[in-house]
Symmetry: C2
Subunit: 243 residues, 2 copies
Amino acid sequence: MNDVIDVMLAHRSIRTYTDEVVPDVDIKAAVAAGQKASTSSNIQTYSLVHVTDSAKREAFIEISGGQEKVRDCGAFFVVCGDMRRHRLLAERCGSNCEENVESFLLSVIDASLFAQNMALAFESMGWGTCFIGGIRNDLNAVQALLDLPQSVAPLFGMTVGRAAEEPWPRPRFPVDTIIHENGVVADDDVLGQCDAYDELMKGYYLQRGASGRTWCGQMERFFEQPKRPHLLAFFESTGVRWR
Amino acid sequence: MNDVIDVMLAHRSIRTYTDEVVPDVDIKAAVAAGQKASTSSNIQTYSLVHVTDSAKREAFIEISGGQEKVRDCGAFFVVCGDMRRHRLLAERCGSNCEENVESFLLSVIDASLFAQNMALAFESMGWGTCFIGGIRNDLNAVQALLDLPQSVAPLFGMTVGRAAEEPWPRPRFPVDTIIHENGVVADDDVLGQCDAYDELMKGYYLQRGASGRTWCGQMERFFEQPKRPHLLAFFESTGVRWR
């Protein structure tokens, strides 16, 4: 199609890396390109922590449930929602900065748009990437480890580095499962789409040596228990008022 | 640098469009490329509504505070977090689907990574884009207009079309304001960075005929009142348990 779409279509997360370090010039290029993503009213409510300290990297392995790629990758980042600039500016002029569901959404969306551009920029330079949601296993620990102040909330990590594996791309839903016209499909059709997707996924699971697995089977109990229940209180402690 | 980064660096939101319609082939290509963005554990918790109905487009102008580009653009989309597939799969097997802060975060991040890839894919094909956060002025109205069921939550809109303007790109923070090593900077340094950014922004505001304006001045009262306070109850009504 074109080079941009080709890089998107070639995406697969990289979970095994060589020991090649990502040079600063590539990091700055990817961050600057990431920042050009849209940001609501130019508020830019995010910050990026580049974790270079090896003891901290080890701690992140434990927080994220034993993901050794956090140590082994060429660069490890923590993407944060950051409302601190706005809070400090408000405090300086005697005003308020009310953090609520909307400001939380703004910072998560802003940070995610930035991060996706940054990840794709790294991939366009030949690096592999993986988002590390596992840091949300314990955001209090992340906050302490990085000494994060009020109004700065870690959201997810990202490993970047030279791929030492060549994984199969995971098939996504067919386009027609995602896109709807003027509304969405009925519940029964949703289940049919999920079952149809499992047919698509058979080859992928077979190649991974997990021939009995299905996407529906993975997902039907995925949210059986409330996940990471500490997050409500954690984000409240950073300043978000849920009430 | 390379074609991918060049398209990122050329980004500016487009708010005035010609009447050229975006063809389906380009929409499907952008959505498929968007879907290749990372998604946590391949859960793919998002859906896209392509709003083609002209009465609905008119209603979105009103919801989003008079943004006529919603009518005038070549294609208008609503990006939704979508936990319905998981809920229906859980219900089918007699399990639960617990929607909480973590599942909300997962769906917002997934949807945003998808949307940023999609926007950039459109831009790589020569189309202009603009994210429309203004639909969050009244998500109950959006829900009614698109007849959205439980567990499907509209997050933001996106206009796509042929640019009928050539706006200046808005400067972002310098890279060093965003990226930090092993922690973040002190409060005093944050305020210094904000003031320094205003120097960068002077030329931009001058060019826009708003020479007295500053970024700090815009931001210091931006969150003075809680924004869109209905969102807490709205997302709760879609299934999110904040407690």
